[in-house]
């Protein structure tokens, strides 16, 4: 068998592909965080809890209303987005004038409350959620068996990531948003409702987390603590990519997925640490992250 870097080539390709799939997933989550930080200047620690909420909504819809995966893929992010809008309007919007730390503490507390509530009712072991019939099975790629569902995850994540990037970087609405970040007073003077834009942005970004949650439901166990481990990794990705940089979070998400996959092959014990080592190195060399700009 042909070998690359001391391991069989098919195994290496398999690991790279899996890294890419996980990376697409990371990108989807870090994108939402980056948008929230870029536009609202808030470090949203509730992102992991809202991702969990997305997965749980899919499970609740199926269990209590018999609504399947495809409608849930639309409905669940809408519900999570609506919850986000309520959170932003009633609570988070009061903290914009204060130091970053208040937003961080508030969202962190919120995450604990949401997760604690679900643990109380559903326990931590999780609930089973099967992938839709259409996406079961898989393809034999020669070097590995690729489950259809994983292929769908990478396609769906990348489409949504690219769509969001286009929306913010290439449309008129996106330009208003970017302008509102720089000079909210001036944008308001042009007759644009800045607070409304911020509310919708938060709603949209947490809906992305909800969407990721539904995508995750058939792969991982749907459990109240599913967001806890992920959120730390995703934060590291946003920091590496540059806080608030949309392209940065997408590219870094994919890159980190690949590096993590390779670490799992060559030195599996370090696979949960490698991301933070990279983060430390990047912060030493480029304190604003790979794609970040200095913010005053």
């Amino acid at each position: 068998m042909q070998e690359l870097l001391g391991i069989p080539a098919p195994l290496l390709f398999g690991q790279l592909l899996i890294g890419l799939i996980n990376g697409a997933f990371y990108a989807l989550l870090s994108l939402g965080l980056a948008v929230i930080f870029g536009v609202l200047n808030v470090i949203n620690f509730a992102h992991g809890a809202l991702y969990m909420l997305g997965a749980f909504m899919a499970w609740l819809l199926l269990t209590y209303l018999g609504i399947g995966y495809w409608p849930a893929l639309i409905l669940s992010p809408l519900i999570v987005g609506a919850a986000g809008i309520v959170i932003e309007r009633t609570m988070l919007s009061r903290l914009y004038e204060l130091d970053h730390l208040y937003g961080l503490l508030f969202t962190f507390g919120l995450a604990l409350i949401i997760e604690g509530t679900f643990i109380n009712f559903y326990g931590v072991s999780g609930q089973p959620y099967a992938p839709p019939k259409m996406l079961t099975g898989g393809y034999n790629l020669g070097f590995m068996f690729l489950p259809t569902y994983r292929a769908w995850v990478i396609v769906a994540s990348l489409l949504v990531c690219f769509g969001t990037w286009l929306l913010i970087e290439r449309t008129r609405l996106g330009s208003y948003l970017r302008a509102a970040v720089e000079r909210p007073d001036l944008v308001r003077a042009f007759g644009i409702n800045v607070p409304l834009m911020m509310t919708l942005t938060y709603g949209f970004a947490v809906a992305l987390a909800g969407f990721a949650g539904v995508l995750a439901a058939p792969i991982y166990t749907v459990s109240p603590i599913m967001g806890q481990n992920l959120i730390i990794v995703v934060f590291a990705i946003v920091v590496i990519g540059g806080l608030g940089s949309i392209l940065g979070s997408i590219v870094t998400g994919l890159g980190i997925g690949l590096i993590e996959g390779l670490t799992r092959t060559f030195y599996p014990e370090a696979s949960s640490t490698v991301i933070f080592v990279i983060m430390a190195i990047v912060l030493i060399i480029r304190p604003h992250g790979l794609f970040g700009r200095s913010r005053e």
Binding site: G14, V124, G126, G138, P268, S271, S272
Partner: protein, 400 residues
Amino acid sequence: MRLMKLAMATTAIMVLGTTAQAEISDGVVKIGVLNDRSGLYADLSGEGSVVAARMAVEDFGGDLKVEVLSADHQNKPDVGSSVARQWIDQDGVDVIVDVPTSSVALAVQQVTADTDTAFLNSGAATTALTNAQCAPTFVHWTYDTYALSVGTGKAVVEGGGDTWFFLTADYAFGHQLQADTAAVVEANGGTVVGSVNHPLSTTDFSSFLLQAQASGAKVIGLANAGGDTTNAIKQANSFGIVQSGQQLAALLGFITDVHALGLDVAQGLTLTTGFYWDRDDASREFAERFAEKMNGQKPTMVHAGVYSAVAHYLKAVAEIDDDGGKAAVDQMKTMPINDFFAADGKIRPDGRMVHDMYLVKVKTPDESKGPWDYYDILATIPGDEAFQPLDKSTCPLVTN
């Protein structure tokens, strides 16, 4: 003369002091249930263990005054040992119960041994607790890595699964479970072709599963627990591992894990357990009462073990009217255990509670009559075969 009086008074106080020790300290027996209340092991231990301990106290009746405390050790050894220390030094806790997560249990073991506090472990698995790290204040109640490997390892090799690859949780428990199982596999004529260590609480197992797949081993042994096991099984299913002829052996599976996976995914798994609620009338009766207090959830073997251990401890303490750690455990060792959990169970000098274990197979969705009706009992493994023989123990209490 005054000096003489003073000396006599001091001696009298010291004598009184020592006699006071051979009674129930502070007039109340305090039971501290220390386990994971918020992380991946919270369902298999957690609040359920507290409920089980309270049930044992209520059922005991008697004229002992008993209190039950609980705390979260977050699966961190430093948190576990500092809670234990605070409980013992400041709150007057007399016995610590449950403590899943082997690394935490080993840390707590040092604290309880140093302070003459009884430690009844139900949740942790490592056999180190009754070998090199054993203590006269300690009893290991429910199961251990040796019993798991004897049950599942032997059954799988005998069924034709003679080449193994391990997915191992990278801490004390995982390494011990892998080592014990590998020994059983090799003793029964099988071989181990490789292994990979994964960090505790891994979400995505696909990279590891791919390595297991590439190894060509007939059996993938999961030397992990809780959420790690369920995630690995669920993902192995989607990667077609079972369909392509490899077999999964979950070395430690709890009924809560099966519940989380659903029978569609979990069916056919072979597991070793110390307790199944639907085994006989006594176990069903306990499970019913437990479920009433736990939103319908049936007890895991850890919950049942906590009940059995606390009940036996209270009997021993009432018998000798002393809640000192070594005194209580010594008394426990002289009494046989007969309840819904164990028939003729006995505690050996190394602290191992010996009782029958059960080899079970997870039912198919068609065979199951509803939630929690999950196991067929394939075989009963007699206690003397299930646990490490006493003459193999490296516990100083036995070897000296």
